[in-house]
Amino acid sequence: MSLSATTAPPSPAAPPSPDLPPRQRRGRLFNRLDVKYSPYLYIAPFFLIFGVFGLYPMVRTAWMSLHDWDMIGDHSFIGFDNYTRLFSDEYFWNALVNTFGIFALSTIPQLLLALFLANLLNRTFLRAKTFFRMVIFMPNVVSVAAVAIVFGMLFQREFGLFNWLLSFVGVDPVDWDGQRWSSWFAISTMVNWRWTGYNTLILLAGMQAIPKDLYEAAAIDGASQWRQFWQITLPMLKPTFIFVVILSTIGGMQLFTEPLLFANGNILGGNQRQFQTLAMYMYEMGIQNLNTAGYGAAVAWAIFMIIVVVSLFNFLLVRRSAK
């Protein structure tokens, strides 16, 4: 561009002439419409699909939540009663506590581990990098039901592997799904096993995007690996980390399959609901109990609002701490 500045500028395109034959004029009109509207056409499929499978169910759920809704019978409008009922519902709060407990137990160690692994995989001296990257992602490919069933067997009271191993160090068999702490621990283990590799790969991709010359310059200045990690990797990784945190938040708040299968398919999540998550409570109220579908819909919207709030909170927290 700058080179051509010294030479004569190329003659501008001929201004549109009114004398053009009509066919050409129509072509130009088409061209203009194409430029203007085609992009919308290209992105339309996503919005149409989102409308049908995302927006419509959400609106419908909101509508249901304002009703006393029997799944196979009558519906009557009751306004916000379902939402006020939420506040005094002991089992809703119980499910909320369980969800946050399992979320904390799975997300925090998982992200720290993922960060550690990603940093390891990012090191230049590691051999067979592709192999390790593939292996680390493998747990995520396995179906969640299979994971939950296998872990459910490992955590069994009578014939479980973990209790068998514990017996060697003289620990009495643990009734894994009997208590709050042990059931939370078992479920978080499943989640961690499945999602650590996934988050590792995303963080690794973020790390790869950091310019290498920054590290080279730091190395020349005598910065240690550890210092490079704190001063370069972490700050530069901030946007990726925020993304991973929000993704984990959404996943954690919707936790359903693992605790359900851990309870042998019982929606209560333990005899005293010690590991019933919000999603399970929503299913219990909305689908299992035919006559409280409206209340279930209110729980669904409550989960949605909680995800929004927690994501925002995490976003602010991560952004501040990474500054």
Partner: protein, 429 residues
């Protein structure tokens, strides 16, 4: 200015498109009802567990030229949500749908989802166990279901384990061990002593089921369907009997891996067997344990645990033919065939008298005369009135509380409190 207007216009257009699609999806109803008298090419039958219809539908296809698609679901817990979805959306339900006692009750208050079978089939009101026939009717008088089977109670026990623990093994002697529930508990303690501390029964919820269905009065609901779970003497009786058995229980939750594995491993020596449970016991125990199980009578007299009906959803396009198929599958001959194949106990009076039924012996259970054992106890069944959400109260209030007590998470008083509290919310309808 122009940017904002254009943006709003675009948003409006997008919203319009979305609503149009939403509307299309909602209104996509295919109202192509067949002409009257038109013969269907195919009928669909939905069953859960093992109802033994495989051979029967083949015969029906041959006789009528109508194809039958038999859709089987292994567990009721998987079956029910599917059925609810069909009813809620108004499509997808099979022409003939098996309904277990618990879910039938749940569907009764909204009986208009089901065809009235009375005008579609001949009058069978005298052909079945009278109480079973009556239970197939909704409060509005509509005949929702034709009776298939009942779950007459018995006790399945391991002969080899009994012998090792010094207990008698002959089924008559074993039955004599426990004329009542106290006798059963004593036998359990004796077994525990003789076997070096091993558990006798699978779980205390199995006991509560056994006691509850012996017809000692109303359970969670009275006859007017008011919830009385916290005051009902029958429930209290089941609760007390069940909790007293905690010391001989293996604490294996029914349907859990501990439970299914326990049959093979012999972690318990006895469990309660409604007729339909025989197939589950033999499947879980596997061929290596063939001949080690036997069947004895239940303490305290006969009872009924479970049992099903065949219904025709109102959304079926061929209610006439579907009703005829249900009639065929529940007639005396079919019920005997199904019993021989998979064990569901007949409800048809003629079938119960049939020689092929009464003389039937079960090879897996040491050739126990299951036809005779169950056939005799059927006669003694006192019908129990189950309210609309009986199943939910039993599964989501009573059993979790019993298990919480059994596993030591709650003491007896606290567990009872948990039950009565949950029964109120689970039982509301």
């Amino acid at each position: 200015m122009s940017v904002t207007t254009r943006r709003t216009r675009l948003a409006a257009a997008a919203l319009a498109a979305i609503t149009a699609i939403g509307g299309l999806a909602a209104c996509g109803n295919d109202d192509d009802k067949p002409a009257a008298g038109e013969k269907p090419a195919k009928l669909v039958v939905d069953t859960f567990g093992e109802m033994g219809y495989d051979e029967l539908v083949k015969q029906y296809e041959k006789d009528t030229g109508i194809k039958v698609e038999l859709r089987k679901t292994a567990q009721l817990a998987e079956y029910r949500p599917k059925l609810v979805r069909y009813l809620a959306t108004g499509k997808g339900a099979a022409d003939v749908t098996a309904l277990e006692e618990g879910i039938l009750n749940e569907f009764k208050p909204n009986a208009r989802n089901w065809s009235d079978l009375a005008p579609l089939v001949s009058d069978h009101s005298k052909d079945y166990l009278p109480w079973k026939w009556e239970l197939g009717k909704a409060p509005d008088g509509r005949l929702i279901g034709l009776p298939t089977d009942v779950g007459s109670l018995a006790v399945c026990y391991r002969k080899d384990l009994f012998q090792a623990a010094g207990l008698p093994t002959e089924r008559d002697q074993v039955s004599a061990l426990w004329p009542d529930w106290k006798g059963f508990h004593d036998a359990g303690l004796k077994y525990k002593q003789g076997s070096g501390g091993k558990a006798f029964i699978d779980s205390i919820t199995a006991v509560s089921n056994g006691v509850m269905f012996q017809g000692n009065g109303d359970l969670f609901y009275d006859k007017e369907d008011n919830i009385i779970a916290d005051t009902s003497p029958a429930v209290k009786n089941a609760w007390d009997t069940a909790t007293s058995m905690a010391d001989i229980s293996a604490k294996a939750q029914t349907w859990s891996p501990e439970w299914s594995g326990g049959f093979k491993q012999g972690t318990f020596a006895a469990t309660f067997c409604p007729s339909w449970m025989l197939g589950i016991v033999s499947d879980n125990s596997g061929p290596t344990n063939k001949g080690k199980w036997d069947v004895a009578s239940v303490p305290g007299g006969g009872g009924n645990w479970g049992g099903s009906w065949l219904a025709v959803p109102a959304q079926s396009k061929y209610p006439n033919e579907a009703a005829k198929l249900a009639e065929y599958l529940t007639n005396a001959k079919s019920q005997v065939e199904a019993f021989k194949l998979k064990g569901p106990l007949p409800t048809n009076l003629e079938a119960l008298k049939n020689d092929a039924f009464t003389s039937y012996t079960n090879e897996y259970f040491s050739n126990a005369p299951t036809g005779k054992i169950f056939g005799e106890s059927v006669a003694k069944i006192q019908p129990t009135h189950l309210g609309p959400k009986h199943q939910a109260v039993k599964e989501n209030a009573l059993e979790p509380a019993l298990r919480a007590f059994e596993s030591g998470q709650a003491d007896k008083a606290k567990a009872w409190e948990q039950f009565t509290k949950d029964a109120k919310t689970q039982g509301a309808f």
